[in-house]
Structure formats: structure tokens, C-alpha cells
Symmetry: C2
Subunit: 253 residues, 2 copies
């Protein structure tokens, strides 16, 4: 994984390294004092300060400050980067089309610029998502409600797809909406839209709606009640219900 780094370079040398990085499709980092202008879905200006700029070969651009998780400015993947020298400044420009967005970074000084040839093909393995919660219910529908019969996932309605569609022990249709974390009123409204869409299709038959999440906020609880919807508490992770082995020696006697 070769890396080419310049420390306290002239802007001309920095410009050269950046351009060769573009040509070779490499990741670039630039550290220096710069100002940033953005115009697109919104528009912004950031007065001069020291920042870390990252340019990725897929067209991503990030401007990071010394605080916060999110970049202060950015361009999404697919953008086109370029660099030029102008009036004793190094200017990095990034343009995106559809929607049209422009970002311009003007460096007064560059203290470090690096070309990074990055090899990374591994996939992230993530557990604890909404999909895991769905699998948990499909593997054992009774944890939702005794006698629950899961009949379809992502069942289409005029209001959008239902996470799990099924019936209770009496054959009453149920729409199930899954959330991996504590939910507010928005999730209740979402479930309500699906239930009402199902009811419009079969005006004669009542439809139950069950929200599945670890917990709900108080306002969401009120809304569930007023809309006649139900709540079941479940987390994406399996609870560890295994018993410690050889724990109750005395009790066995």
C-alpha cells in the first residue's frame, strides 16, 4: 500500500501530487488552511480555518474539522474533482450533476498532502438490524403473539410495503411494522397508513396493526391508543435465556 506524502509543500508541489492522485484513482488527504463554498441543494460559506480534506476515487469529498462526526462540507460519490493554482491559492473543485452541486475549497496554505493507494474489498458484517428482528419473528412467530401466522414480508399496499403481513389465531389480518430501536410518533403513523390501506381494500374486515420495537415514547403510546394499534416489545438481538450449567447443585438434591 504505497503512500506519497509531502509536508509543508509549496502549493505548486501540492497541486502536482493532487493531480497525479486524480490520474491514478487514488485516495487523497489534504491538510491546510482553507475556506469552503458550496452551492447546490442549499448553499454555504465557511471562513478560513484549518481542516482535513479527503478525496476518494469514487468521487466522494469530505471536509472535516477537529470536532464532530459529520463533515462540515462534502460532495457525494460520483462527483468530479479537479485542482488548479490561481492567484497564489490552491483551489480544489468538485462538481456533481443531478442535482447540480458545486463545492470549492480554496487553500491559503497546505501543511500536508498524501496520495494513498488503498486496497479494501471486505464486506461489513452487521448484526442487530431490523432484518435480524424480522428473522427472529419469522423463525418463531409465537414470540409476537401466540398463534400468529406470518404470511408475507414486504407485502405491497397502496401506502407502501408492510414489513410482515399475517393473521392472528382468529384469522384476522395483521400488519406488523418493525423498528430496531425505541420509536416515536412517526413509526405509529407509518403503521397506521398501512392498516388504513388494508382496510380500504376490504372495508368489511377489521385489520389489526402491531408495532414491534424495543420500546415506545409516551407520545407514541398515546397515538397507538387513539389509533387503535398495538405494541409488542422486542429487540433485534436474541435474549440469552440459556441456563448456567451446574449452577443449582444443592437444589437438585
Amino acid at each position: 500500500m504505497p503512500v506519497s506524502t509531502l509536508t509543508d509543500p509549496t502549493l505548486k508541489d501540492a497541486h502536482y501530487l493532487v493531480d497525479t492522485g486524480f490520474e491514478h484513482g487514488e485516495m487523497l488527504t489534504i491538510v491546510g488552511k482553507c475556506e469552503v463554498d458550496y452551492d447546490g441543494r442549499a448553499s454555504s460559506h465557511l471562513a478560513p480555518g484549518e481542516r482535513l480534506v479527503i478525496l476518494k476515487p469514487d468521487g466522494t469529498l469530505l471536509v472535516h474539522r477537529n470536532k464532530q462526526r459529520k463533515p462540515v462540507n462534502w460532495q457525494p460519490p460520483g462527483s468530479t474533482h479537479s485542482a488548479r493554482l490561481d492567484d497564489n491559492r490552491l483551489i480544489v473543485e468538485s462538481v456533481r450533476s443531478s442535482p447540480h452541486e458545486e463545492l470549492e475549497i480554496t487553500f491559503q496554505t497546505v501543511v500536508q498532502v498524501s496520495r494513498l493507494e488503498v486496497d479494501d474489498v471486505s464486506d461489513l458484517e452487521l448484526e442487530g438490524s431490523e432484518e435480524d428482528l424480522r428473522q427472529r419473528i419469522l423463525a418463531d412467530p409465537d414470540i409476537l403473539e401466540t398463534g400468529f401466522n406470518a404470511m408475507a414480508t414486504e407485502r405491497e399496499t397502496s401506502a407502501g410495503p408492510i414489513d410482515i403481513y399475517g393473521q392472528d389465531a382468529d384469522g384476522t389480518p395483521i400488519a406488523v411494522e418493525l423498528k430496531r430501536r425505541r420509536v416515536g410518533p412517526d413509526a405509529v403513523s407509518q403503521l397506521n397508513r398501512y392498516v388504513e390501506a388494508l382496510e380500504r381494500n376490504r372495508p368489511s374486515k377489521s385489520v389489526r396493526g402491531i408495532l414491534v420495537a424495543p420500546s415506545v415514547t409516551e407520545r407514541a403510546k398515546q397515538l397507538l391508543t387513539s389509533e387503535g394499534l398495538e405494541f409488542v416489545s422486542l429487540t433485534p438481538e436474541q435474549e440469552d435465556i440459556s441456563q448456567p450449567i451446574g449452577f443449582s447443585e444443592d437444589a437438585d438434591k
Copy 2:
């Protein structure tokens, strides 16, 4: 803006630079081959590959690949970082409390590590947000509807705060929900919650609900109709309606 950089360092030297960076509250970047394990709100594993790791003095940690705008793994501000050598590996660990989250990065090799002393106090000036849309309407309520009287912003209801609360020319209450971009069914449900909350408070009086956004999706349009809500098309940006000066010389004659 001093910067200390090591290229292709031993893990021992990399460890030393990282530790001194922690002590001085500086931003750190580490480039190298690593694997990443996360456990907290969810859990994940990322097999070895070459990545750029950023550690900020506020406790933020970012792991960036050569693609995508979002980091593949991260820790939010407020986390506590540490580094250690173990079994010919450099291990960077980050812990957050409330909720408890751990992230561990195991470096097989480090090709570059940098300490960056970053000075940045400027504020971002952003235009085109929902707040600008609100200002636009408050400055000239007639652009929403002739005779509209804006009476409050963020007015509290049992369903949450209404962006703009007012009355039409007839004195009928109106709840206005603002969105800076094209909206789907979620925004319609949100507005509907506010309107129903207002109607519960004054069962005798009808309440109008107006969604203000650049445009709506087809499904949102259907939902607006079925819920008896209205839509007004507006963008956060002022339209430039000024006439070119001296354009119609001939027409003047």
C-alpha cells in the same frame, strides 16, 4: 499549524506518536491495514483491509474506506480513545458510555500516522434550510395564501410543535408544515397529527392543514386528498423575479 508525520513506521513508533497526540489533544490520522470490531447499539465485524482512520480531540473516531461518503465504522464525539501494542499489532480502542459502545481497530501494518494541530473556529453559514423557508413566509404571509395571518411558530400541541400556526382570511385556524425539499407520505402524516391534535382541543372548529414544500410525490398527494389537507409549492430560496433592465427598448416605443 504543526504536523508530525511518520511514513511506514514501526508499530512501536506509530503507537508513540498516537499516544502523544492523545496527550496534546490533537487530531490524528492513521492509514494502514486493519480489522474493525464494534459492539454497542448493534455489532459488526470488518475483515482486514486498508483504511483511513481519523481520531478527533473531541472523542470522535472515523474509519473511512476508499468509497462512500459515510464512514464504515465510527464512534461519536465524547468517546474515549486509547492505543496499545499487543502481539505485534497496534490496537486502537474507543469506548463510549450511555449507551455503552466499544470499537476496536487492530492494525497489522501502519503506512502513515500523523498528528495534526488544528485551529478552526469559524462558523458555517448555511442558506436554503427550512428556517429560510419560514422566514420567507413570515416576511410575506400572502405568498402562502392571500389574507393568511401567521400567529405563532413552533406552537405546541399534544402531537408536537407546529412550524407555523395561523388563520386564514375567515379566521379559520391553519397548521402549516414546512419542508425544504420534495416530500413523501411521512410529511403528510406529520401534518395530519398536528391538525388532529388541534381539532381535539376545539372539537367545534374545523382546522385547515397546509403542507409547504417544493413538491410532493404522487402517494403523498393521494394522502393529502384523503386526509383533506392542502399543499402549497414553495422553495427555501427566493425566486429571482427581477426584470432585466433595458431589455425591451423596442417595446417602449
